[in-house]
């Protein structure tokens, strides 16, 4: 007997979605973690990864360009929010942004070269597409009314990656 909503859970994870705490499937995955780890490994060779805030799948081959686009997106966004004197952690955690605010931050960024070199970030239209299609589909961002976007806990996956670059090798996260 499969856990409840098995098909939806499998479909969502295999669509590359991050399943976050506010999703009812989060708890099902947590309760049946062993089953799903084995299920994805034996059925497809995929690794189910879990943090206290989200679950996601990893495949042997990675979607490198999309991952790079999103990583650069968050790096530039957080950096520019900080430069504006805003607390980027608060914005990502508790607030939302209008699409025009985001495109303005990218238009005026000090990381101009890095943004211009990226086809997904170098124009308001492509930026809008990255957020609206790729990030919303993967449940990294959530579309709100009036062209506003909030971010789910999945943003931590990308900013923690940048954080890892600072930490000395082998330094463990404090409990």
């Amino acid at each position: 007997m499969y856990p409840k909503n098995h098909k939806k859970i499998v479909t969502e994870l295999m669509d590359g979605k991050f399943i976050t705490q506010d999703d009812p499937h989060f708890q099902i995955l947590k309760d049946h973690k062993e089953f799903y780890v084995r299920f994805f490994d034996r059925s497809f060779g995929y690794a189910l990864q879990s943090t206290p805030e989200y679950h996601y799948l990893l495949s042997p081959d990675t979607q490198e360009s999309t991952s790079r686009d999103i990583s650069i997106f968050f790096s530039v966004l957080c950096y520019e929010l900080d430069q504006e004197g805003r607390n980027f952690m608060d914005v990502l955690n508790f607030s939302d942004l209008h699409i025009d605010e985001i495109t303005d931050l990218f238009r005026n960024t000090t990381w101009r070269d890095q943004v211009q070199a990226n086809k997904q970030l170098n124009s308001p239209e492509s930026l809008r597409r990255l957020i609206h299609s790729t990030m919303v589909r993967r449940n990294i961002a959530v579309k709100l009314p009036d062209d506003r976007y909030a971010f789910t806990a999945a943003y931590k996956y990308f900013i923690d990656y940048a954080w890892e670059l600072v930490r000395p090798d082998g330094e463990e996260e404090e409990e």
Binding site: K7, S71, S75, V76, F88, W163, L165, V166
Partner: protein, 404 residues
Amino acid sequence: MFKSEPKSIVRFLATHFDLIRHLFDIQIHEGVITRQQVSDALSDWDSDVEDQLLEYRILTPQNDDFLISEPYFVLLEFILQQFKPLLPEEIDIYGQSIRTLFLQIREGIHLDRNILLERMDALANQIKKFTTAIRNNTTSLQHESRELKANTQNMEYEEKIRKARHLIEFYIMPLNTILDVNHSQSIYNELLHISQYVNKMRFNYENESIRRRFGKLYNLLVQSNTDISSQSAIISNELLPLIERIRTESEYLQGFHIYLTNGDCYKKYDPPALFSISRTYPYQHFVYENTKQYFEQFRHEESVYIEEAGAPEEQWIFDQEEYRQRLESQLPVDDFFSWCGSAISEDKPHFRLDEYFMITSLIFEDDYEIESHHPATNAILKSDDVQLVLPRLKIKKKHVSEKP
């Protein structure tokens, strides 16, 4: 010994406060004020008061440089609320004095009253200094944290992280330990312990004047403990999370900086692994609906009756009167049931049982008498699909005597 009037000194401080504050800021940041810096400051303020600065001992020579002397420095710190954070070791000195004095008070509680009173005064004094030091230290750490948060000195992220770590490791955490009520060796716990003892003494000591002094000391301790408790709450609820957060944010920002610098995000660093969406789904999108539809077609199947084609069979109708006449014409009949079988066979060679029993119903007519044979025998009637075993019954007209 000053030659000038005290009021003149205070007035001098007020008149030249901006200049003195400037010198104070230099000493705060650099630890010492050089002779050149004093000259520059005097020149900037277009002032010629070096002699008074030395005469009132606002500045004291330190080799070739100057320092603001301690009483003025403390006054300025207090007025400007700009305290240099004290190292926990500096604060701990008050703790040691408090412990020693309390021990001596307990041991000499019934000895010389004069020295007891002096020790109580000294203890009160140390407690006040300790409380003031804690309050000033919390204020200064809050100030430093806010400066760090606002990054007024335009520090690099790495420097901010280092500074935040330094504040946490060497100032805030040890200060927290000093004030931690759960830590058995904390000064705060020592003060609670002293409070209990002093509380008992203010009621139990035999001498009234010393009881009153214990009473004053107790009030001071209650106030101090309240103050320290609120300072401790500021440290654990506000200061520590703030500094921790500054450190974390700065680490993230430094990470972004490293990632983006020189376009290393394209050249040097592989991005985090991301699930590659495959188009070969384990389920076809509509498999559920399709399967459901397939099985549901069998679920509510209605019964189907198929009638064979062919000429409709002529319906046989039992004509009771006709059969009664036929029976009466042949009475008496020796075997009634066999007669019924023969009679219907004449009309309908392949009769049904219900049709047969319609004819046998003649036996219930009032006009006939029924007799059974002795010994009883059975008649056997065969139809298409059944064999009936029936008793042999004789039937005759009532009131008609049978001819011998």
